[in-house]
C-alpha cells in the first residue's frame, strides 16, 4: 500500500481518523473520508489519470469539480462498471475500484499514443476527410478503427443491478447552486415563507466561499455557511438537495435534476436507488451557478500537473493535499494570487507567479512581501515533461524566452467564465462583457433570474447582495408577500480584479483548447481556413465543446480564437447555444423503475389465476396478458395445441376468456343518434335486448374498429370494441361528444373491467352453460335467438348472456362482474367435463374466425375500407355517419382495390404465411406486379389444410383461380387457390343450432 506522500500534515475538510482503502488500475491506495477519487490520487502522488480522446496523450486532473475534462475513469466493476465518471466528482468510499480508460496496455505505456506522431492526420474534420473514400470502407473498416482508438470508457456488458428512481418536485422558488449568492437567495426566499428547493451539486454547501478567508455577518465564511445551512434545514418550507445537479432547463419552467443518492457509498444499497431523476416544476428560478475558471492556451498545456488555479487551491484547502511540491503559477488576473498565498501558507514552494498583465496591482506587493517572485508581462511558453510536468518555459508577450522554471505543478488562471449553461438552455443568448472577458446572461425570457458569479459578479458582497435580492424578487413573483425589512448578509468590500486577454500564448506546439475532445488552437485556425466561420459550424467541425464536459472550460477560449482568426471581436462571433444535459446522466436514471416487468404496466383479466392453473401460455395484447394456448402437457407443441383447441370447438365445445374486449356503456336520450353517427350501420332501431355487429370508419373513410353493441334500454347501450382499439374508440367518442356534437345529450364510460366475459362455443355450448348456471337462464332458440341478449341473476350477481358467435358455432358470451369471473370460469370448466370442453386461447380463436372469414386486427390495418372487407352492404344509405363523405371518393370506392378473399394452398401440404404477396407470375414477383397480400393464416382442422385471408385486386371476381403467394424472407413460393373468405359452414347453419 502506497503512503499518502502528497498529503499535507494538517488542514482540509477530511476525516483523517477514517482512512479508506481504494484501488486505481488494480493498485491499492489509501485516502480519507471526505476525499474525492481525484484528491486521494493526488495525495498518493498519482498525477497521470487518463489518456486523451484522440491522441492518447497523458492527462492528469485539471479541475476539482464537475467541469473536469481529463480525469475520466471507469468506476466500479462488472455489471456496475460506469465509464467516463469524473474523478473529481467521485466521493471516496471504502473498497472503491476505478480503472483508467482509453489506454492499452497500460496508462503509463499506451500503444495508441503513436497517434501523436500521426497528429497531422487527426486534425479538425479528420472524420470527414480521411474516411470518406471509399464509402464502402466506412462500416467495415474506418468505423471500427475510430471506435477502438478514439474512445472513452467501456460500458458494462451485464444488466445494471442497481435501482434508479424518479421523483417529482414543486416549489415557488428553485435556487440553482449553494455558493454565496445561492445561499443568500435561499435564505431570503425561505425566510419570506416561499417553498424553496436549493440544489447543490457538491456534497457540501458554500461553493467558492469554502476557498475564501472572508468574513460574512462578522463571522468566518465557513462558520456562516454552517449557520445558514442549519437555518435552511430547520425551515419547513425549504428543501436542501446536495449531491444533485440540475442538468436541463425545459419548457414550463421545469428543470431536470439528478440526485446521486448512493454514489458515495459501496453497493449494494438494499432498497434504495443509486440515483434519482427529479423533475422540478418551479414558479420562479434563481440561477446562482457560479463561474468556471478557464485555462490558458499554451504549448503542451495538457501535461499532467497543469491544473486550474482554483483547483490547486481546492486540493490544498478542502482536501489537505499538495498537488505538487513546487507549484509555478501563471495568470492573467488576481485569482491565482490567492492560490499562491494559500500554497505559501501550506509550506509549498511557489517559484514564480507569471502574470500576463503589465500592471497587476496591489497583490504583487503582497506576494513579494511573502518572498514570492512575480514576473509581470510574462506568459507561459511551454510545459515540459514526459508523463507529467517537470519544467515551465516562460516568455514575454513578444515571444522572447525568459527562462526555464523547474516545477511539478502549474496552477493556471485564464479568468472566469460565468456559468451560463442553464440560461442559455432557456433560450437566452448570453452577451459578452468586455470587463470580465466572459459571457453573461441577457434579459430572461422565462421566470428566472441570475445572481452572483454566473452573472459576472465576482466580489463577495456583490454576490450576497444579488442573491438576497434575487431570492426576494423570486418569492414576490411567485405570489409570496415579502417583508421589506429583510437585510442581505454583509461582507467587506473587495477590489475588483483586472484581467487581460490571453487567448493563445505564442507558440508553435500543440496547445489545447478543449482537453476532452483534443481540440487545439491550430484546429480552430484550420477549421476557419476551411470555411467554418460560424461558431456553430466550427464547433461541429472541430468537435469543440461537444464532449461530455459540454466545453465548460473550453468554449470561451475556443470562440475567442475563432474570433481572432476571423479578425472580428467576440460579440460578433457570438456563442453556441447550450443544450441539456449540463452534466452526463446515466440512461438508467432516465429509465427509472420503468424496466423489466415495469417497462409498462401489465393488465390482467379476472380469470388470470384460472388460466395460470391450467398452464396457459400467455401473449401480450397491448398491455393485457391473454392465454395464447393451453398445452395439455410438456410434449404438446404450440402448433399441436392450437390445432387441437380449434378442432375441439367444432367437435364438442370450448371456452375462451374474452374479457379484454373494450366495453363502453352509453347513456342518454341521444345515445341512439350518437351511435348512428359513429357506426356505418343503424343502431337507432335496434330493439332492446338485441345485439348488433357494428363497424366504425375514421373520418377519412377507412375502417376504424368493429364490435358488437347491444341495447339494454331505450337510452342505454352496451358497446364493445376490439381489445387493441378500446382506448382509441373512447377518445374518438370523447371528441365527437365534446367537440363535434356537443348538442347531443349522451354520456358514456368504460366498463371494460366492471364486466368480464367468457365465450363458450361449440355444438355442446348450450349444454355446458345450462349445467354451469344450474338452469338460471333459458338459452333455447325461442327465448335467446341469435344476436339476443338476456340478463339473469347468478349467485346474487347480475349476469348478461349474449348469443353471438365469432367462431361460427353455436356460441354464447356470458358477462359477469369482475369478482365473479374466476368463479364463473371454474363453474363452466367444471360443468364442461361431461361434454369434453377445452379452454382455447387467442391462436385457436384466430383459426376459427379465419375459417369463418371474420375480419380482425390484421384486416383492420387502417388502410382498408368496408367494401374491401366485403362489408360494403352494411353501409347504411338511410343516415349519415362518420367516414361516409370521404368513403365515396373515387379511389376509396374503386372496384379494383384489393378486396378480401380466402386462400388455400393447391398442395395441401404447404403452409401459408401472413405478409406474403400475391402474384400471377411466380417468376415476376416485384412490388409492381403484386396484386395483394396475405393478412391472416391458420392451420385449419375443419378444412384439413392451411387457409388464409388476403386482400387481392379484383379478388371477389377471381374465386377458383390459382395464383402464387411469395414470401421472399424465407424464399417460399406457394401456389394457392382463391376462394370465398368463408371457408366453413358458408350458410351459417351451425350458429343457429
Amino acid at each position: 500500500m502506497s503512503s499518502q506522500s502528497n498529503r499535507l500534515t494538517k488542514g482540509g475538510h477530511i476525516n483523517r481518523a477514517n482512512p479508506l482503502t481504494f484501488s486505481f488500475d488494480n493498485k491499492i491506495y489509501q485516502g480519507f473520508e471526505g476525499d474525492t477519487l481525484a484528491s486521494a490520487l493526488l495525495a498518493n502522488g498519482v498525477r497521470l489519470m487518463g489518456r486523451s480522446f484522440k491522441y492518447h496523450r497523458a492527462r492528469g486532473v485539471l479541475t476539482a469539480g464537475s467541469e473536469e475534462p481529463n480525469a475520466l475513469v471507469e468506476l466500479r466493476q462488472g455489471a456496475r462498471r460506469e465509464p467516463n465518471t469524473r474523478a473529481t466528482m467521485i466521493e471516496l468510499f471504502d473498497g472503491l475500484a476505478a480503472t483508467s480508460q482509453n489506454r492499452f496496455p497500460s496508462l503509463s505505456f499506451d500503444f495508441m499514443s503513436v497517434n501523436q506522431l500521426f497528429g497531422r492526420f487527426l486534425v479538425a474534420g479528420f472524420y470527414y476527410k480521411t474516411f470518406m473514400w471509399p464509402s464502402s470502407f466506412w462500416e467495415s473498416f474506418y468505423e471500427k478503427i475510430i471506435r477502438r482508438s478514439a474512445g472513452l470508457g467501456r460500458a458494462a456488458v451485464e444488466s445494471d443491478p442497481d435501482q434508479y428512481d424518479h421523483s417529482h418536485g414543486h416549489c415557488d422558488v428553485l435556487v440553482v447552486g449553494a455558493g454565496p449568492a445561492g445561499l443568500a437567495a435561499a435564505l431570503s426566499a425561505g425566510r419570506s415563507g416561499a417553498r424553496v428547493i436549493l440544489v447543490e451539486e457538491n456534497p457540501w454547501l458554500g461553493g467558492a466561499l469554502n476557498l475564501q478567508n472572508d468574513r460574512i455577518d462578522d463571522m468566518p465564511a465557513t462558520q456562516w455557511i454552517e449557520a445558514v445551512s442549519k437555518e435552511l434545514n430547520a425551515l419547513e418550507n425549504v428543501r436542501v438537495m446536495s449531491r444533485t445537479v440540475l442538468f436541463g432547463y425545459y419548457d414550463g419552467n421545469v428543470m431536470g435534476a439528478l440526485e446521486r443518492v448512493n454514489d458515495h457509498v459501496a453497493p449494494p444499497y438494499s432498497d434504495q436507488p443509486r440515483q434519482r431523476l427529479w423533475t422540478i416544476r418551479a414558479k420562479e428560478i434563481v440561477i446562482a451557478a457560479g463561474a468556471h475558471e478557464r485555462p490558458i492556451v499554451f504549448d503542451n498545456n495538457d501535461k499532467p500537473g497543469v491544473m486550474l488555479s482554483s483547483a490547486v487551491r481546492t486540493y490544498v484547502d478542502r482536501f489537505g493535499v499538495a498537488p505538487g511540491k513546487t507549484v509555478a503559477i501563471i495568470t492573467n488576473n488576481d485569482d491565482a494570487y490567492l492560490t499562491a498565498f494559500q500554497l505559501h501558507a501550506a509550506g509549498i514552494e511557489v517559484p514564480v507567479i507569471a502574470d500576463a498583465r503589465v500592471n497587476p496591482g496591489d497583490l504583487v506587493e503582497k506576494a513579494r512581501e511573502l518572498g514570492i517572485r512575480v514576473e509581470t508581462d510574462c506568459l507561459p511558453h511551454e510545459a515540459q515533461g514526459y508523463l507529467g510536468v517537470t519544467n515551465l518555459l516562460l516568455q514575454r508577450s513578444d515571444g522572447s524566452l525568459i527562462e526555464k522554471i523547474a516545477c511539478d505543478c502549474i496552477a493556471v488562471s485564464g479568468g472566469y467564465s460565468p456559468n451560463v449553461h442553464l440560461v442559455s438552455q432557456s433560450g437566452v443568448r448570453p452577451v459578452w462583457d468586455e470587463k470580465i472577458l466572459g459571457f453573461i446572461p441577457d434579459t430572461p425570457i422565462r421566470a428566472e433570474r441570475s445572481a452572483g458569479a454566473c452573472k459576472g459578479t465576482y466580489d463577495l458582497a456583490g454576490c450576497l447582495g444579488e442573491g438576497h435580492e434575487a431570492g426576494l424578487a423570486a418569492a414576490k413573483a411567485a405570489g409570496i408577500a415579502v417583508a421589506k425589512s429583510a437585510v442581505a448578509p454583509q461582507a467587506g468590500p473587495q477590489p475588483q480584479s483586472s484581467i487581460v486577454a490571453v487567448w493563445r500564448s505564442p507558440g508553435k506546439g500543440k496547445a489545447f483548447v478543449d482537453f476532452q475532445n483534443d481540440v487545439t488552437a491550430a484546429d480552430i485556425d484550420l477549421a476557419h481556413r476551411e470555411g467554418m466561420v460560424s461558431i456553430e459550424h466550427s464547433k461541429r467541425y472541430t468537435t469543440l465543446g461537444m464532449a461530455t464536459d459540454q466545453g465548460k472550460t473550453s468554449n470561451v477560449n475556443g470562440l475567442a480564437l475563432l474570433a481572432r482568426a476571423r479578425g472580428e471581436d467576440i460579440p460578433t462571433v457570438g456563442t453556441t447555444r447550450y443544450r441539456p444535459p449540463y452534466s452526463p446522466v446515466a440512461i438508467g436514471a432516465f429509465a427509472g423503475h420503468e424496466r423489466g416487468v415495469h417497462f409498462q404496466p401489465t393488465r390482467l383479466t379476472a380469470m388470470h389465476r384460472a388460466h395460470e392453473r391450467l398452464g396457459a401460455v400467455f401473449v401480450e395484447v397491448g398491455q393485457w396478458l391473454r392465454p395464447r394456448y393451453y398445452p395439455i402437457n410438456d410434449k404438446e407443441t404450440m402448433t399441436q395445441a392450437i390445432w387441437r383447441e380449434a378442432d375441439m370447438v367444432r367437435k364438442t365445445v370450448g371456452m375462451c376468456d374474452v374479457s379484454t374486449l373494450g366495453k363502453i356503456e352509453v347513456f342518454g336520450p341521444d345515445a341512439a343518434e350518437f351511435l348512428n353517427r359513429l357506426y356505418i350501420n343503424g343502431f337507432a332501431k335496434l330493439p332492446v335486448g338485441k345485439a348488433r355487429y357494428g363497424l366504425m370508419l375514421r373520418e377519412d373513410g377507412h375502417v376504424f374498429d368493429d364490435g358488437t353493441t347491444s341495447r339494454l334500454a331505450e337510452d342505454h347501450y352496451f358497446m364493445t370494441t376490439t381489445t387493441a382499439n378500446a382506448a382509441g374508440v373512447l377518445s374518438h367518442m370523447d371528441y365527437c361528444a365534446q367537440v363535434v356534437w356537443p348538442e347531443l345529450d349522451v354520456a358514456f364510460c368504460s366498463a371494460t373491467e366492471q364486466w368480464c366475459g367468457v365465450a363458450v362455443a361449440g355444438p355442446r355450448a348450450r349444454d355446458v352453460l345450462t349445467a354451469a348456471f344450474d338452469g338460471a337462464i333459458d338459452m333455447s332458440n325461442e327465448v335467446l335467438a341469435f344476436m339476443g341478449v338476456k340478463e339473469f341473476t347468478w349467485n346474487g350477481a347480475t349476469a348478461r348472456i349474449f348469443r353471438i358467435s365469432f367462431s361460427g358455432e353455436l356460441a354464447f358470451e356470458v358477462n359477469v362482474p369482475w369478482g365473479y369471473g374466476e368463479a364463473m370460469w371454474e363453474s363452466i370448466y367444471a360443468a364442461g367435463k361431461d361434454f369434453d370442453l377445452i379452454p382455447y386461447g387467442t391462436e385457436a380463436l384466430g383459426v376459427l374466425r379465419i375459417e369463418k372469414g371474420h375480419v380482425a386486427g390484421n384486416e383492420l390495418d387502417g388502410r382498408t375500407t368496408a367494401q374491401d372487407m366485403g362489408l360494403g352492404r352494411m353501409m347504411s344509405s338511410k343516415k349519415p355517419y362518420i367516414g361516409l363523405p370521404l368513403s365515396q371518393r373515387e379511389g376509396m370506392a374503386d372496384e379494383m382495390r384489393p378486396r378480401l378473399v380466402g386462400l388455400k394452398p393447391v398442395d395441401t401440404k404447404n403452409r401459408l404465411r401472413g405478409g406474403a404477396h400475391l402474384v400471377d407470375d411466380k417468376n415476376n414477383a416485384t412490388h409492381e406486379t403484386s396484386l395483394g397480400w396475405v393478412t391472416s393464416v391458420g392451420d385449419s382442422p375443419a378444412i384439413g389444410s392451411w387457409i388464409g385471408l388476403a386482400y387481392l385486386k379484383d379478388g371477389p371476381n377471381r374465386h377458383g383461380e390459382r395464383i402464387f403467394a411469395v414470401y421472399p424472407l424465407k424464399d417460399e413460393v406457394v401456389e394457392v387457390e382463391i376462394c370465398d373468405p368463408v371457408f366453413f359452414d358458408a350458410k351459417g347453419e351451425r350458429l343457429h343450432g
Partner: protein, 95 residues
Amino acid sequence: MHRIDCPWCGVRDESEFQYQGDATVSRPKFKASEEAFFRYAYVRENPRGWHTEWWHHVGGCRQWVKVVRNTLTHEIHVTGTPADKLAHPRKVKSP
C-alpha cells in the same frame, strides 16, 4: 415540458395529454361537400408562431382542451374548453 392548464383539473404536465392537432378546423355538417370534408380531414396550416390546438386530457379528466400555443417558443398563452373562443395574443413575442 409543457404545463397545460386544463379548465377542469388545473395545471398539469404535458405527459397526461394527447396532442390532437389543429383546433382551428371544425367538422363540416353532414350535408357539406366532399371537398369540405377533404379539407377537414387532410388540409392543415403549419403556422410558425401562435396556433390553436387540441390537447386531450386523456390521463386526467378526459376533456378536450383548446390550447393557444406558440409553435416557435412553446409558450402557452391561454387554454379553454371546446366552447371557448380563444384569441391569439396581439403581439408576437420574438424567441
